[in-house]
């Protein structure tokens, strides 16, 4: 038998790395939030004055709202589409399942920066494929400057986010469906249940953990994403696609207000950690 102290020795390397690259930087950011900065240089201790600015920062509240909308839209569309597609796909032949799952998963492998560039071209108001397609179909009156109008920009970007995420949902759901005991479906068939009834009463309830995982994963990702917005709209037009991460970036890198940027980062960190904790607790409790 080894003493507990021996275990700590084995844990030490990982713990030191964690402290050096996670705990200390977080503590540093928290510390920065209590100071004012001038042109990138530490100025003076200001207590909670930087935090008090949150209340009157309309861009912060707009960004928070956009993050919340993004979470809801992500939960509404990619998850639902992924669930339905995987349920349909699961009944096909194994080769078909493998091929289609791979195809659906391809957008997930594309970096968001690249996805942003691709969709930036699709949405481009001058030479964009989407408006061109609408014109060809005689639907030119529905053409928009998709990313350049406040009314369409956030939703249009969310479509890109959904495009990159739904394939991931399909793969996760597919794996979960294939682990469901086939005898449940056979029993339902004997009872005369149709596809809809089996989906509603067997598939959906038994995918609860997967749905929970995907939902919380999507929510956390929705708070963290940055690259897609930055390469397409930089938070514009106006503040229409501003999210917390772009607000942090602008405040830190462009304005040089390191103290307030640290406050925004702390808020973002608290939200993401809360979601992660909720996720951990819910998944552990089942």
């Amino acid at each position: 038998m080894h003493s507990p102290r021996t275990a700590y020795w084995f844990l030490a390397p990982a713990l030191i790395l964690y402290l050096a690259f996670v705990a200390v930087p977080i503590a540093q950011v928290v510390g920065y939030s209590f100071f004012s900065w001038d042109s990138g240089q530490l100025d003076q201790f200001v207590g909670f004055a930087n935090f008090a600015r949150l209340g009157t920062d309309s861009v912060f509240w707009a960004a928070l709202w956009h993050n919340a909308v993004w979470v809801v839209l992500t939960l509404a569309f990619p998850l639902l589409a992924g669930l339905l597609l995987s349920a349909i796909l699961a009944e096909r032949r194994p080769n078909t399942v493998r091929a289609l799952a791979a195809i659906y998963f391809i957008p997930r492998t594309i970096p968001l920066v690249v996805a942003g560039i691709i969709w930036g071209w699709i949405y481009n108001p001058i030479f964009g494929l989407l408006n061109y397609g609408l014109d060809i179909l005689g639907l030119g009156q529905f053409a928009h400057a998709w990313l350049a109008e406040e009314s369409t920009a956030l939703f249009s970007l969310n479509v890109v986010g959904a495009w990159t995420f739904f394939g991931f949902c399909v793969v996760i759901y597919l794996a979960a469906i294939q682990s469901i005991d086939p005898s449940l479906y056979e029993a339902a068939d004997i009872d005369g249940a149709g596809w809809g009834a089996k989906f509603r009463d067997i598939t959906v309830p038994l995918l609860r953990n997967s749905t929970l995982f995907l939902g919380l994963y999507a929510a956390i990702e929705a708070m963290r994403f940055f690259d897609l917005i930055w390469v397409t709209t930089q938070g514009g037009p106006g503040y229409a696609t501003e999210v917390l991460t772009t607000h942090v970036y602008k405040t830190f890198f462009l304005v040089g207000d390191f103290g307030y940027a640290a406050v925004l980062s702390v808020v973002l960190l608290v939200i993401v950690l809360s979601l992660a904790s909720l996720s951990f607790w819910l998944l552990r409790s089942r």
Binding site: N124, I126, E149, T233
Partner: protein
């Protein structure tokens, strides 16, 4: 940054600095795009090496748009490069001067003269009575136009604002985009609006706002904001201009699908290179409001600045090298190899050195009004105000806010910046 310790004896002149001295240099002179003066910089590093007195240049090229952000991080990390060519001057430069990150350059101005830097540029590179930057490039705003399209539609180059309005409307009627304008990158509208503002309010009113207590919500600024919004609402810009990139807008113009584009000399080399399919011309936008003098927006592009943390030998070497970079002899290299026109270069010199006719025309017109040339907003305002200006101009042009609301938002940001001590006054 400083890799090698300086061993020069205190009091030695720049030409006697020991060979161990390394001057770290950050600049933005790349081989293409905005400020594509890389070939000139490469040559001048060789040419000016003797001025270093044995010291060496350790050069880093950073993207022109991003260099200001990289520089701020370097300052924050205590790694300020010894010599940097970055932007903007005015508020941002004075912020670094105020916090002691930059070395004052008064003694070098006295030693080397640098008389080509006029009072306007000296003011933009000063803080609290001392000079902290040596501006080099001369940036002007103007209207690039497609001569063939103007001729085809029987439109003469406008000499009054009414003629400009008539020309833009005529192109619109003819199905030609009047002004190739793309503002996805957020900053191009700032330049366009700066030009409109200067030609509507004039330099004096601008200075009353920037340096004194006149609010942004004054009548002249309101007229300028209204004009800018009218340009957008009248369909002078391409569809979805807030979703069109700056480069895409330039490409639209160079492809012959737009009659004009309003931008600066910082992209003149790309305009010339890309103008194979069009006949490129330049004119200055005429005054918009009655009683306002002709002029254009001008600035220094970027400026050379020295780190306060550099030791004396390094600063001496860097200043001597800088004197070479901005010398009369080097001006010609910047023009011929870098398509960049240094401050102090005359139109006559441009003609003598064989500058492209468009370059000559642009600077001849832009430099004809030195007394009334005015300010570029996003290199003049504090960064906190600029970051409000960018989105608010998108909203103004997009019709999502009124001119009054736009100016009120600017006034609020301005008051906060002034209260924070961020305002620059020359």
């Amino acid at each position: 940054m400083k890799r090698i310790a300086v061993v020069a004896t205190i009091g030695l002149s720049a030409t006697q600095v020991a060979a161990e001295t390394v001057v770290t240099q950050w600049d933005q002179f790349s081989q293409a795009g905005i400020t594509a003066a890389g070939p000139a910089m490469d040559e001048l590093i060789q040419t000016c090496a003797p001025a270093l007195g044995g010291a060496e240049i350790l050069r880093t090229v950073a993207p022109s748009i991003g260099i200001r952000d990289s520089y701020r991080l370097a300052v924050a990390a205590g790694k300020t490069p010894d010599l940097a060519y970055t932007w903007p001057a005015a508020s941002v430069l004075s912020g670094y001067a105020r916090t002691g990150a930059l070395a004052p350059l008064d003694e070098y101005y006295a030693e080397y003269g640098w008389e080509h830097v006029n009072d306007f540029y000296r003011g933009r590179n000063s803080y609290d009575g001392s000079l902290y930057g040596v501006p080099m490039e001369q940036d002007l705003m103007g209207v690039y136009y497609n001569e063939a399209l103007f001729e085809e539609h029987g439109i003469a180059v406008p000499t009054t604002y009414d003629e400009f309005v008539a020309a833009a409307n005529a192109f619109k009627e003819a199905g030609v985009v009047p002004i190739a304008f793309g503002n996805r990158d957020r900053w191009p509208a700032t330049n366009t609006f700066s030009l409109i503002l200067g030609l509507t309010a004039g330099k004096q009113v601008e200075e009353d706002v920037f340096f004194r207590d006149t609010p942004w919500t004054n009548e002249a600024f309101l007229q300028a904001a209204t004009v800018f919004q009218d340009w957008a609402e009248d369909g002078w810009f391409p569809r979805g201009f807030n979703g069109v990139g700056y480069d895409e807008a330039n490409a639209l113009f160079l492809s012959g699908r737009a009659a004009m584009t309003i931008t600066g000399t910082w992209v003149i080399q790309d305009m010339i290179r890309g103008s194979d399919n069009i006949a490129l011309g330049v004119f200055m936008l005429p005054p918009i409001a009655d009683g306002v003098a002709p002029g254009t927006m001008w600035g220094e592009g970027s400026q050379w600045q020295l780190s306060a943390s550099a030791d004396e030998a390094t600063r001496e070497a860097a200043a001597a090298y800088l004197d070479c970079l901005v010398s009369d002899e080097s001006q010609r290299v910047w023009v011929q190899k870098g398509y960049t026109v240094p401050i102090g270069t005359t139109p006559e010199e441009l003609a003598e050195w064989g500058a492209h006719p468009v370059v000559h025309s642009f600077f001849e017109q832009g430099l004809a009004t030195p007394e009334s040339n005015f300010y570029d907003l996003h290199t003049t305002l504090p960064e906190s105000v600029t970051q409000v200006l960018y989105p608010e101009l998108q909203r103004l042009a997009g019709g999502d806010t009124t001119p009054e609301e736009f100016l009120q938002a600017m006034q609020s940001a301005w008051e906060a910046a002034v209260a924070n001590g961020d305002r620059w006054i020359p």
